[in-house]
């Protein structure tokens, strides 16, 4: 029964309803239906009795219904505030920041290459390693990327989620949880490798243990570095890498220790330092930026299930990048006694070509940031009737961005080709025992440049899909691309020669780019729907 007395307590009923609706909208801008509104009201402390007393309705559900229906009448008259574009100075500054953040991943790589050219060794590589040791280290390195690739993606997803909300304590706990899981998984894989090699003794014990030692230490480093990158301490790892190379120099050159021992000890020190620094940065961020809440983390099963697509992407991304190497190195030859045999010329061609990704990655950051910014603005600035036109304009604009990205990537590849040729012929050729690209290396280098050019465009599309929280539209293409890379690489290496594995990489990258492009287009054509899903 409705009591008139209760209503009398709130003579300005419509204002009160409006205030309550605003409170609901503050929590969720577009509540799904009355049920969600009722749930939100209950979370504010509204009960049936209170709703009855305040508005004369029977229960919270009737109040939710009342709120929705009364506000629906006002929809036409309410519009978002128009957002003007940012001033060009802000845009320019932001663009530069995004570009630098995009290319900063290349800094450690550049340092490593410089050390290789100057000192002939880096933290985990050495020009004069025996093929046997190089095979073990290469196997450990590839396996480490495959293992932690998924953890890196998962940490990035969850880390950014908490960081953008200012929950640094939760972020720390979540990332530490992944680091521990990563180490445990690495240990389990190492154990499985030992068991496997006991059952199928393909590698002699010394090679196996070298591979596992590098694998474990590199995993620790990658896990720590990934978090440093997430919390935007990109330069710290470069510094740590420099310290690591210095330690190798001391151990190998000054103390005349074995290069493998010197590198392993240095990497171990770098890993420990990374973790200590990580801890320090987290503490500082918590002191300065944390919002102060520290509830329990979600159940680990729920977390794993929700980040599984990102984890799989990390794994498959490195599988796509390294599959051709495995195919090339496992190509049977009478001269090689093991199932896998490092081919330096193939690796060198790929290493030089990898630098072509630096500029496109910077560009990618800018394109994605602009695209997302424009989406956000258009959501506020445009009426519902303009949706189709908006979608098509996004498709057109994004197509233009893709072409620009392709041109930049191709230009970057051409630049890398010219620079590398100059470096090899005009500079390195003068040094004693210089590295050189033989015929196979040249061939691999040229095709790898094409592959990475195509891949840069595909990665741009992938980042867009991730930004729109549609990882499944990247996963299927990349899984199929790994299959294409594997199948073509396997057939060509076995039928023609190991250098042909590079065509597997090219076909995989091209396939991935084409497939994910189709998916991006289909999403942009229904952008309003995807934005609704995101809200």
């Amino acid at each position: 029964m409705t009591s008139m007395g209760d209503i009398v307590q709130f003579p300005n009923r419509s204002e009160h309803l409006r205030a309550l609706w605003q409170q609901v909208l503050d929590r969720h801008l577009q509540p799904e239906d009355e049920m969600e509104v009722a749930a939100l009201l209950e979370s504010f402390g509204w009960s049936d009795a209170r709703a009855q007393r305040a508005f004369g309705v029977q229960d919270v559900f009737e109040l939710a219904d009342l709120l929705r229906s009364s506000q629906d009448q006002e929809v036409d008259s309410v519009a978002n505030e128009y957002l003007a574009p940012d001033p060009w100075k802000v845009v320019a500054k932001e663009t530069l920041r995004q570009f630098v953040r995009g290319i900063i991943f290349a800094l450690p790589m550049t340092l490593s290459i410089a050390a290789m050219l100057w000192l002939r060794f880096s933290l985990w590589s050495y020009q004069y390693l025996s093929t046997r040791a190089a095979t073990a280290i290469a196997a450990g390195t590839i396996l480490s990327f495959l293992t932690v690739g998924g953890f890196m993606q998962a940490m990035a997803r969850q880390g950014y989620f908490y960081m953008f909300q200012g929950h640094y304590r939760m972020m720390q706990r979540m990332t530490y949880r992944f680091i521990v899981m990563g180490v445990l998984v690495s240990a389990a894989i190492s154990f499985a490798l030992i068991v496997l090699d006991t059952l199928f003794p393909e590698l002699p014990p010394d090679m196996l243990f070298t591979a596992i030692a590098y694998y474990m230490v590199l995993n620790s480093i990658w896990l720590a570095v990934a978090v440093l990158y997430i919390i935007q301490r990109e330069f710290v790892f470069t510094g740590l890498l420099a310290v690591g190379i210095l330690l190798v120099f001391i151990g190998f050159r000054l103390l005349h220790a074995n290069i493998l021992a010197a590198q392993l000890i240095s990497m171990l020190i770098v890993a420990v330092l990374s973790l200590l620094l990580l801890n320090h940065f987290f503490r500082r961020d918590q002191r300065e930026k944390d919002r102060g809440i520290n509830p329990p983390l979600p159940r680990i099963g729920v977390t794993l299930y929700s980040i599984a697509p990102y984890f799989l992407y990390g794994l498959l991304y490195f599988a796509l990048l390294f599959c051709d190497r495995v195919m090339a190195w496992s190509t049977h030859s009478n001269l090689e006694p093991f199932v896998i045999w490092f081919r330096g010329d193939y690796e060198l061609g790929l290493d030089f070509a990898l630098t072509t990704l630096i500029l496109p990655m910077g560009m990618s950051e800018i394109i994605v940031a602009r695209l997302m910014g424009r989406m956000w603005r258009s959501q506020r600035n445009l009426a519902a009737e303009d949706v189709q036109a908006l979608n098509h304009s996004f498709v057109r604009q994004y197509a233009g961005q893709t072409v620009r990205m392709a041109i930049l990537s191709a230009g970057s590849a051409a630049g890398v080709y010219v620079l590398t040729e100059w470096l090899l012929r005009a500079y390195l050729a003068r040094l004693p025992g210089h590295v050189q690209l033989n015929q196979v290396g040249q061939y691999v280098f040229a095709v790898a440049l094409m592959s990475y050019t195509v891949l840069a465009v595909g990665l741009l599309h992938a980042v867009v899909m991730f930004s729109l929280s549609r990882p499944e539209l990247v996963l299927r293409p990349i899984l199929m691309a790994v299959g294409v890379n594997f199948a073509l690489g396997f057939l060509l290496t076995r039928w023609i020669g190991y250098a042909q594995a590079i065509w597997g990489l090219f076909a995989g990258c091209a396939f991935f780019t084409v497939m994910v492009s189709r998916n991006v287009r289909s999403v942009l054509l229904n952008l309003d729907y995807h934005m609704y899903l995101l809200s």
Binding site: P204, I300, Y305, S330, P337
Partner: protein, 663 residues
């Protein structure tokens, strides 16, 4: 002296890896790849084995032909096959993936679940902690003495049959018989993706062994040595299994296993030694009994999967050896005839399908020839010569007591078959045993004599031995049932059986089979020592030895003919400098091993191959004399240590020369 090959550690390591690969490829993998078959666990295992061997051979031909035969290729084809089955809806049920993911997430979240499940599993199988008093009391009322004695007798027969066949594989390093080297080389050619290296010949055995080598990751020599004896031991087991399954009793199976497994040399004569060797024919014969069982079961019960298994076994035999296929086809005819006699009207459709399966198996068996012809490869010369050659002065084989026993058993089975037909009783197994025995005996006794075929004259005895053992087992069971009239035997009667077995074995005096070889065990031991030490060394290794070392070294190192070596390298110059040149030969392997014999190996003069080998022995002696002189000159020029003794045995010394040493 225990050599490198027969050392306990070597044998344990090799056997562990071999058995692991055997179980993985031929027992575990088919459980995932093929549909389950009705029947006992043994039926399932046999059906899986037959199907997997067919799969391995067919996919092997395909992969070798397209040069993709390696672990990755094998796994890819297997995965594609499983995926194809899954798409057809014959694999795991839908939603299985979600089920696995849900369990995985459960375990990640609650690791204690794993321990709980393990504890639950263990408790489910828990046995009460035994006390001494309980252990001492336990046999009373718990032990079925008849059953124990029965299984004891079976174990004695299997143990003896296994020992007879496997002794050589453990104790003797050299490949068996004159074919051993060829079998080893052909297996290695498959691993090198070379099909029909020496002409068209069924590659079934070599594909089977090459696949085992891939997963066992041991020297193919061990796979060669172990496979043959294990296959013939499996044949004994399958004979036992078939008779037991057909009669539903153990005695017949036991008797047939005894006759073929322990007393087989009375039936096989000179070919008894083949039981310890690795040959295509013996491997192909392994599939005759599975074919008989599943064909009979299909014709009797009409379950289609049985037809597939029978056809697979028939194809196996055809893809491995033509004589094995002949025996399998004769078995198929016997099974079909017995089914027609018992139930013509009911079995017409099944008989037609069985005939279709047989025809298909014939086509499949001819596929390798078609493949070889497509690759422009000629037929294998020695095989085709043997196949078409006529025997000089063909005579009827002289029958032994066991031949007569086998013939009598077949006769008894035919009588039992007729009796069952007259009394409208089920008697198809009597018909099969009788008809099969009679047909194979006819082939053995008159095949070679009438056709003058050298193959039939020389090899049909091996076929008859199997058919005779089967007939004796079936007839023995029938006689046993007639005597006992279904009652259980008393302990005294069982003891009598055991004494009879002991007496038979003592009279027969079965010895371990040690087939002849064409080289010293030391040749193999030296090779194993070299391979272990230098396989992964930079610059590889090369042995300078006679041709029999070629198959051993193939794929891992290099071999050079002694005569060519002596004619090429100047002993008075630094190591491995060619005559007329000033610099060392860098194209040769870095580590070179010279095989210098104190005594040349010769096969017995009674052996048929002695005449063939004799010219080689003469050449070897000549080479050895030159070797000694070359070595003396080399040591004078380069110092004694430039050719260090790497291996020294009673008949052989191996010297090591390193390209980088010496003055």
């Amino acid at each position: 002296m225990t050599g490198v090959y027969s050392a306990l550690s070597t044998q344990l390591y090799a056997w562990a890896h071999y058995l692991f690969a055997l179980i993985l490829v031929y027992a575990a993998a088919p459980r995932v790849m093929f549909a389950a078959i009705d029947g006992t666990r043994a039926d399932q295992a046999v059906a899986n084995y037959a199907r997997m061997v067919l799969y391995v051979i067919l996919s092997g031909y395909l992969l070798v032909a397209v040069r993709l035969y390696e672990v990755i290729g094998i796994l890819c084809v297997a995965i594609l096959y499983v995926a194809w089955r899954q798409l057809r809806g014959s694999g795991r049920p839908a939603g299985y993936g979600s089920f696995v993911i849900a369990h995985f997430l459960d375990l990640v979240e609650y690791p204690q679940l794993l321990w709980q499940r393990l504890r639950h599993h263990v408790q489910g199988h828990a046995v009460r902690r035994p006390s001494l008093a309980r252990v001492l009391k336990w046999p009373r009322g718990n032990v079925d003495w008849q059953r124990t004695v029965r299984w004891g007798l079976v174990c004695v027969v299997f143990g003896t049959a296994g020992f007879i066949r496997l002794y050589d594989a453990v104790a003797v390093a050299a490949p068996e018989m004159s074919d051993g080297d060829v079998t080893l080389a052909w297996t290695k050619y498959i691993n090198e993706r070379i099909l029909f290296h020496d002409g068209i010949y069924p590659q079934g055995l070599y594909l089977y062994m090459a696949t085992l080598t891939k997963f066992a990751v041991i020297d193919p020599l061990f796979v060669l040595k172990f496979t043959g004896p294990l296959v013939t031991s499996f044949t004994v087991a399958l004979l036992y299994w078939l008779v037991c399954r057909w009669t539903g009793r153990m005695f017949g199976g036991w008797l047939s296993a005894l006759v073929f497994g322990v007393l087989g040399w009375h039936l096989l004569g000179q070919d008894w030694s083949r039981q310890a060797a690795t040959n295509s024919q013996e491997f192909g014969l392994l599939f005759v009994f599975p074919m008989l069982h599943f064909a009979n079961r299909y014709l009797h019960e009409g379950r289609r999967p049985d037809l597939w298994v029978a056809t697979a076994a028939l194809c196996d035999a055809g893809l491995i050896h033509s004589l094995a296929y002949l025996l399998a086809v004769m078995g198929g005819i016997a099974v079909m005839a017995s089914s027609a006699l018992q139930d013509w009207s009911g079995a017409k459709g099944r008989l037609a399908r069985m005939a279709l399966g047989g025809t298909a198996s014939g086509i499949v068996s001819l596929l390798p020839i078609g493949l070889g012809k497509a690759l422009h490869i000629p037929m294998n010369q020695s095989a085709s010569t043997f196949l078409t050659s006529a025997s000089q002065g063909a005579r009827l084989p002289v029958l032994t007591g066991f031949d007569v026993l086998g013939l009598a058993a077949a006769g008894l089975l035919l009588c039992l078959g007729c009796s069952s037909l007259l009394h409208r009783r089920e008697g198809r197994i009597w018909w099969i045993g009788g008809l099969y025995g009679a047909m194979v005996f006819g082939l053995y006794e008159f095949g070679g004599y009438l056709t003058h075929s050298a193959v039939l004259s020389a090899r049909t005895q091996d076929l008859w031995a199997l058919a005779a053992a089967l007939a004796i087992g079936l007839a023995g069971q029938a006689a046993f049932d007639g005597i006992t009239r279904g009652r259980r035997l008393s302990q005294a009667e069982w003891i009598g059986c055991a004494v009879l077995l002991a007496g038979t074995v003592a009279w027969s005096r079965p010895n371990a089979i040690v087939p002849y070889t064409v080289q010293w065990n030391e040749d193999v031991d030296a090779y194993l020592k070299i391979d272990r030490q230098y396989r992964y060394a930079d610059g590889s290794y090369m042995v300078v030895a006679e041709n029999f070392e070629y198959a051993l070294v193939l794929g891992d190192g290099y071999r050079m003919d002694p005569q060519a070596f002596l004619d090429t390298y100047d002993p008075t110059k630094p190591p491995l400098t060619r005559y007329g040149q000033a610099h060392r030969d860098t194209s040769v392997a870095a580590h070179v091993f010279l095989y210098v014999y104190k005594q040349i190996f010769e096969v017995s003069k009674d052996n048929g191959i002695y005449e063939l080998q004799h010219p080689l022995y003469v050449q070897e002696r000549r080479n050895q004399t030159r070797f000694v002189k070359w070595l003396a000159a080399y040591r004078r020029a380069n110092g004694r240590e430039a050719a260090r003794v790497f291996y020294d045995g009673p008949h052989l010394t191996v010297y090591e020369i390193s390209r980088e040493t010496g003055t």
